[in-house]
């Protein structure tokens, strides 16, 4: 399959109070035609910054894309100027955001906002654009679309607003859809409706999607491949089936053990100890070292690369020869900090 998007060694750093924050630090992935890649991680992992970087929507300063390539349909869009980027955004690559409540303009009707996209990017007349907008609203399952089109965002429920956002993002038949936590602000039953809609649209238009989420359940049900991020790095990258069958990185395993499941009963959950360190306090070595149950001396000294293991890629010394050589030199952050 053809790669729609290739991201190579993307680095987006932030600079505040004289400190450097490596929010996205050498991230590489690709998205193929018709495929959904899920990027999963907790707050501060850099997943949203990755998404914003793809559209060059990083506020600058304090942020800056300092290195890397974003190859979209054969061209590095990091070389694009503002005018070229404006042509790309909302047209070839479009985005839906987490908060449908705050990402629609409250003083325009939803119709106005969809029509604007069509008039700007497709040079349609207002009349044609309005017709197309109604079709789009019908496509995303809004009942009475020809009436709803003249309503303002506050007249719609959260799920309806997210449907409008999706309609807007689909207006120009994008090649790539970036969905940043599209269902996080929604109720479960509405979330199920929206995920179902996104899955249907993907099949219908053979669209490629980058799905950003903190919810492994959503990834499991909607993505084809998954990249797990921790503190600006991809720590595991795999096909969804392979990943959920046998996750390799201690962080991935920890995440999965942290979620209560409907199918198994445990007396206590098995959480990852500690918390995500502040990104200005990164130590050398593996970024997960402070919370890892398998940390060794080498993990504190040197950061592992993302290496192929089985049918996945994983960033962990455990899956290398060097780890076995060092067996026994266990590193315990908790006893160290207590001592």
């Amino acid at each position: 399959m053809e790669n729609i998007l290739e991201v190579r060694n993307l680095k987006t750093y932030f600079y505040t109070d004289g400190k450097e924050i490596p929010a996205v630090d050498g991230v590489s992935f690709e998205i193929r035609q018709g495929e959904t890649l899920g990027i999963v991680g907790e707050s501060g992992s850099g997943k949203s910054i990755t998404a914003l970087s793809l559209l060059k929507l990083i506020p600058q300063p304090p942020g800056k894309i300092i290195d890397g390539e974003i190859i979209f349909k054969g061209e590095n869009i990091l070389d694009y100027n503002d005018k070229q980027m404006r042509k790309l955004r909302g047209n070839q690559i479009s985005m839906i955001f987490q908060e449908p409540m705050t990402s629609l303009n409250p003083v325009f009707t939803v119709g106005n906002q969809i029509v604007e996209v069509l008039v700007l990017h497709r040079n349609l007349s207002n009349k044609l654009a309005r017709q197309k907008a109604i079709e789009l609203l019908e496509l995303v399952g809004i009942p009475l679309a020809s009436k709803r089109i003249d309503e303002y965002p506050h007249q719609l429920s959260g799920g309806m607003k997210q449907r409008v956002m999706i309609a807007m993002s689909l207006a120009c038949d994008p090649v790539l859809l970036i969905a940043d936590e599209p269902t996080t602000a929604l109720d479960v039953t509405t979330q199920a409706q929206i995920l179902d809609l996104l899955n249907n649209l993907k099949t219908k238009f053979n669209m490629s999607t980058l799905l950003i989420t903190h919810d492994l359940g959503v990834v499991s049900e909607s993505a084809d491949r998954v990249a797990v991020m921790y503190l600006g790095r991809i720590v595991e990258y795999a096909d969804v089936d392979a990943f959920f069958e046998n996750p390799l990185h201690p962080y991935s395993i920890g995440l999965l053990n942290s979620i209560p499941s409907m199918f198994k009963d445990v007396n206590r959950l098995d959480p990852i100890p500690g918390q995500v360190p502040h990104p200005t306090e990164l130590k050398k070595g593996c970024r997960f070292q402070t919370r890892c149950p398998h940390a060794m001396k080498i993990c504190v000294e040197e950061e592992p690369d993302l290496i192929p293991v089985e049918n996945k890629s994983v960033r962990c010394w455990m899956y290398t020869n060097r780890y076995e050589e060092l067996e026994g030199e266990k590193w315990d952050h908790y006893s160290k900090s207590k001592a």
């Binding site: 907790e42 109720d187 959920f244 209560p260 499941s261 959480p271």
Partner: protein
Amino acid sequence: MGPLLQVEGLKKWFSIKDSKLFRGEKHFVKAVDLIDFSIEKGETLSLVGESGCGKSTTGRAVLRLIEGTEGKVVLDGVNLYSLKSSELKKLRKDMQIVFQDPYASLNPRLKVRQIIEEPMTIHTNLTKKERTDKVKQIMTDVGLNIMYLDRYPHQFSGGQRQRIGIARALAVEPKLIIMDEPVSALDVSVQAQVLNLIQDLQEKYGLTYLFITHNLSVVKHISDRVAVMYLGKIVEIGNKASFFETPLHPYSQALISAIPETNRTLKRERILLKGDIPSPVDPPEGCRFHTRCPFVMDICKILEPPLTLLKEDHYAACHLYTEGIGDIGKL
């Protein structure tokens, strides 16, 4: 001895003031509309539902943090709604609440020691020294390092702040703690830590929880009994095992099927509900769920089904069963 908490006919209607808009007619948001439930000592009852179903209002009305319109709330033999506010204040130490947002629910100007000490200053006769000792002991209990006594809330992460909120609730040794979405604002890995803490504390101190959440996987993990709310009504209530094995109300079934699962080998059939939750202002006649119910019948549009005992310790409000159409054995 009866249950620790007994709620009977609790109702909270908010009146909508703007009479011009509705041509002088009085309208109400029926946030909580005649609900009954009880919690035994040492038990966790989860109140689950989607936004706008009235679960948080219920939590607050139980504590009289907002005044219920009607109803009885009996805590350990005393009807809170028969008390004067001065009498109620004395009982406040028996019932505490942990809020959803650990960023908004701690006073940013107080140090951790002051936050945890304050309830003791108000409700107990402990000396300064005793209070400080107790603060340290509670901090240890909830997994906070006592080196942080003099830090301010902003110096802590979300998970640690929620621990402070829990410590504050524990300070006066309450009989009942209302947990209002205590882990919803937290990251997955931290969420698991706090859930474990909540369970550990319950075991250690024999605490009773009313656990309010929208997350059914969390409910399954933490509760003894489950109550599902929809538009101000409890539509199903029962013990956890029976509820998750055979959810009876179509809404509960849809809720359970909607949870995204990471277990890929067990594929379930998803029930997709049509439309959105109707407005709680003048909710639908008859069964409030009838506008979205996949099994809707004529009677559902006219008559509101009562909460009926259908299995051992398992009630549901649905005409499917009272009309003999729904087969409980088959589900």
